[in-house]
Amino acid sequence: MKLSLYRLKQYIDISLSPEELANALTMAGLEVEEIETVGKIPDGVIVAKILSRRKHENSDHLSICEVFTGSETLQIVCGAPNCDTGNIVPLATIGTVFPDGEGGTFTIKKGKIRGVESFGMMCSAKELGLSEDHKGLMLLPGTFEIGKPLQEYVPTDTVYTLEITPNRPDWLSYWGVARDIAALVGGEVKFPAPENVPTNLAGDWSNLVTVEAPDLCPLYTARVIRNVKVAESPAWLKASLAAIGIRPINNIVDITNFVMMELGEPLHVFDMRFLKGERLVIRRAKENESITALDGKQYSLTENDLVIADTEKPVAIAGVMGGEYSGVVSDTTDVVLESAWFDPASVRATSRRLGLSSEASYRFERGADRAMIVPASMRAAQFIRELASGDVVSPLVTVAEPEPPVRVIDLKYDRVRSLLGMDVGNRRIDDILHSLGFATVRQSESGASFSVPTWRELDVMGPADLAEEVARIHGLDKLPDVPIKATQSDISGDAILPITHLREQLADVGLYEIVSNSMMSEASAIRGGIFEPADLIRPNNPISLDLAVMRPSLLPCLLDAVRYNIARRNFDLGFFEIGHVFCANQAKFPEERDEVGIAITGCAHPERYSKERGQQLDFFDLKGIIESVLSKRRLASFSFVPATDPQFNPLCCAELIIDGKKAGVLGQATDELTKGMRLNTPLFIALIQLDALFSASVKSEYYVPVSQFPSVSRDIAFIAPAKLRNQNVVDFIRKLHLPHLESVSIFDVFEGKAIGEGKKSLAYSLVFRSPDRTLTDDEVNVLYEKVRKNLAEGLGVELR
């Protein structure tokens, strides 16, 4: 909302500079977002009078004027339609500097326009930055002295743009802001009391207003004013609206807007000619009723919408907008002035449902001040009499429910001090609350009961709200520095720390973390063939089809990140992501879980040289990354077993088993998944359940004694069928339960013509060691022979 400081000063004496006041308001919760200086007339613009006007020979629209400056007569070429003889206008003399609207300036110079000399520029209101009006020259009143600088007549104003929090509808007016400034920095307030409105008017007006929905409209007032003359508003009224961005329309509409800005109460005026039966009925709309509002659009209404109707049809959407065919027009003479209180929730619901909001609905849905309804109506009636020569013929016709009781809040002064952690005295608390309109109802030693003023009744509910008022006015900058307290909390187990550690472990093996959208298209989500459309969680109101479903897996995110980078020629990639994934099919996984995804492709060591440079990442790099991290995490039991999964190449796919349960899957992404990515190297992906990692059993923290005796090692090589797996061999040897066998490790795999089709050569190193003595060659040889014999017999391998 915008406020003019010039207008604001009509309601309160302010001694602060515009900047000081803005800062004080901001620090009291009424944030001044922008301070604009307006109406700064450039030096050199004077009041001048047009002495004559003739047509420019070389132009259809230009005129040549003789203009008197008070000391001389200048020839000015002018394009405005209204540069008529006798008009008093602003004249920018030679040398006047104007802002060009883009941060620079331009200077008025003597010039020739289509061959005719011109010695200055006559100005429109827009050119002077006074309003948006650029239809013609700004016409000045005859009271302005010719030759005087225009600055002397047009004061510079400051316009604030305020951010008003939704709990403070009382700040949506000059009066409301003035009231708070008085509490904040002092200064005498001047209430714009209505004057010159006749009272004790006779006549029976009881049929004028019928309220059929008192729950939504507990207070309605109307007044009939006849013989109004609809016309342009006087300059001061237009200027006061234009300054804060409200377009002047005509005197009646401008008056309602002015009073709304002054007192915060939206008003509405009906043309009586368009009210069938000259009656106003405040009722719920009927199903399928509709209205064309002032914006020219037709709105269908429901029984939840409150309308103002005549005897036949709705003439306004209550508190939101008037009807197009019942408002004030140029030949309007008799009007009904409405000032009422509408239920905030009802106005908000209607406004939202219709997608229609207005200055009125903005205020009503936040809560107008009940106490301001009568003064606002009186104030508007006063102006309609004064500015539109209207005859007030009816008293204020009021239909009201009993007033709700005033809220009273019991406050302990200590509670304020405790909440704020600030030492504020009892007297100071009283003073602050009194200055804001709260009144002491009862007083005790330790506290008091305060009544809440009508303009705060929807906001201030309890002691905490009163504490906020004290903090706001006393100043949050007075909060003391206090030491950080210690706590003994029952909550154990930091939920982020384990994730932080895992992230660091994954980064430490060379991976970069990515953060992807949780929302994606259905087509992306079901890539990989694990999930079906019915498995997906879909918001009702997605922002687009590309963001229509929640990701069921990190796979599509990893694919997207790889595709994005390959397209930018980042070929050597190692990514991981940790995040929530979602599934509507309980059989697949229960709704929401955390997943870890890893993707690698390209060269293992792009920063190296010679032979190492070309070394491509393969399945064993991915597996190694996982093994490194799991080892770092000291997992007690994990293994990789061959698997099939639609996301992976069937020849290169494994499941990760932790503690005997499937914890994830890894392998080479299928060609189907990488199609169109222009990958030069295979892509390897792993998807692991975070829960399985975090709940995995870990190795004992007790130490294992380290043997001080030497080890003895023996190598064993054999030709095996190509399908024999390393794990089969290792498990086989382990199952022999040989004494002193410390480790079995493969050190060579070879396949080739020399070995023969369908075969491979494997070589293992066995290490034996005793914790308490040196083993002899003889005893190791016995064990070694046992292995050889068993391998040959048990696995059918051909020993070498």
């Binding site: 620090m27 403070r168 909440l419 905490a464 909550i491 973390e513 959208n517 980078n565």
Partner: protein, 340 residues
């Protein structure tokens, strides 16, 4: 005869030393050694003369032999050392300017780094980091937090709803509710995580964003404790020069409510484009937890009170690293990710 022997020894020694001083390869040295001290060398060849000497000369001859052998050996050693030194000098050294064989180290995403850094700071002040689901009920996300029934943030225009009436959480505050329902005061937590709002993606909005909220409930936690906590956080995160200011504001969840500005990290508070010349940047919303919220989780507002705060992690990260478009966070471009 002794005289003759001594002369020969001297001549051989002198000859050997001359040859060795000219020697340039180990083979040259080896040749000198062979022809003097070797099995068929000149010195060795003189040994039989010893036996023929009279007894009184033997001692002198023995000493001369030793002297000659030692002299030649010393010259041999010297020549070898010289040749080795020359060889070492000529040998090509390891080109230490070639790239090292780096251990691969990746990086955490900048948002994660901010989450981790924030959690670490708050942990030092006694907060525990907790998490919760992203699919939430209306009660946890709005009702329990005292959001009015007709609050605009509940509108399907702003919030993603699921067919069963639940929603994608719009804030991490539901975690505060879950935590308070699950434990007795004192409660001192931070909850970082992903949230969703129906914003059209642009430089400062995305459909998802990350937020960190804090909550501290105990018997005597005050607005001053909030201010001191935030000040300490600001200084640890952005540096000791950062100042904070609090302005009254309005949030249904808190009463009193404040907005907390940090002195502009770009200009140090002097005024710049980022802070719109105010010297301050709006960072977080905060306040004293509304008594209605405490009642919703079964706490007695007469017995306990406390503060809550919340801020956007993207914004903090953008300010820290001077990033001006948050869409880059989920582009996941390696060249971006490598910078942090």
């Amino acid at each position: 005869m002794l005289e003759e022997l001594l002369q020969k020894l001297q001549a051989i020694t002198a000859d050997a030393k001359t040859a060795l001083s000219a020697a340039s390869t180990p083979a040259d040295v080896e040749a000198v050694k062979n022809r003097t001290l070797g099995r068929n060398g000149a010195i060795t060849a003189l040994s039989p003369m010893m036996g023929k000497l009279p007894a009184e000369d033997k001692r002198a001859a023995g000493m001369a032999f030793n002297e000659a052998k030692q002299g030649i050996q010393a010259a041999l050693n010297e020549a070898n050392a010289r040749i080795n030194a020359k060889k070492a000098e000529d040998a090509p050294a390891v080109d230490v300017t070639l790239p090292g064989r780096m251990w691969p180290f990746g990086r955490k995403h900048p948002i994660s780094q901010t989450i981790d850094a924030c959690c670490a700071i708050f942990r030092r002040m006694g907060f525990i980091a907790v998490t919760g689901p992203e699919l939430e009920t209306v009660w946890y996300n709005f009702d329990a937090l005292n959001a009015p029934a007709n609050h605009p943030s509940r509108d399907p225009q702003d919030t993603f709803y699921l067919p069963d009436g639940r929603l994608l959480r719009t804030q991490t505050s539901p975690v505060q509710i879950r935590t308070m329902l699950g434990s007795k005061p004192p409660v001192r937590i931070v909850s970082p995580g992903r949230c969703y709002r129906r914003d059209t993606p642009d430089a400062t909005h995305g459909v998802h964003f990350h937020q960190l909220e804090g909550l501290y409930i105990d018997k005597d936690v005050s607005l001053s404790d909030l201010r001191s906590t935030i000040l300490k956080f600001a200084k640890e995160f952005f540096g000791a020069d950062v100042q904070i200011r609090m302005r009254p504001h309005f949030f249904p969840f808190t009463e009193p409510s404040v907005e907390c500005d940090f002195s502009c990290v770009m200009c140090g508070g002097k005024g710049c484009r980022v802070c719109k010349n105010s010297g301050w940047i709006e960072i977080m919303g905060a306040g004293m937890v509304n008594p209605a919220v405490l009642r919703n989780v079964g706490y007695d507002p007469e017995e306990v009170q406390g503060f809550a705060f919340g801020f956007g992690l993207e914004r903090l990260t953008m300010l820290k690293h001077r990033i001006n478009d948050l869409r880059i966070f989920s582009d996941n471009d390696l060249r971006f990710l490598k910078q942090f």
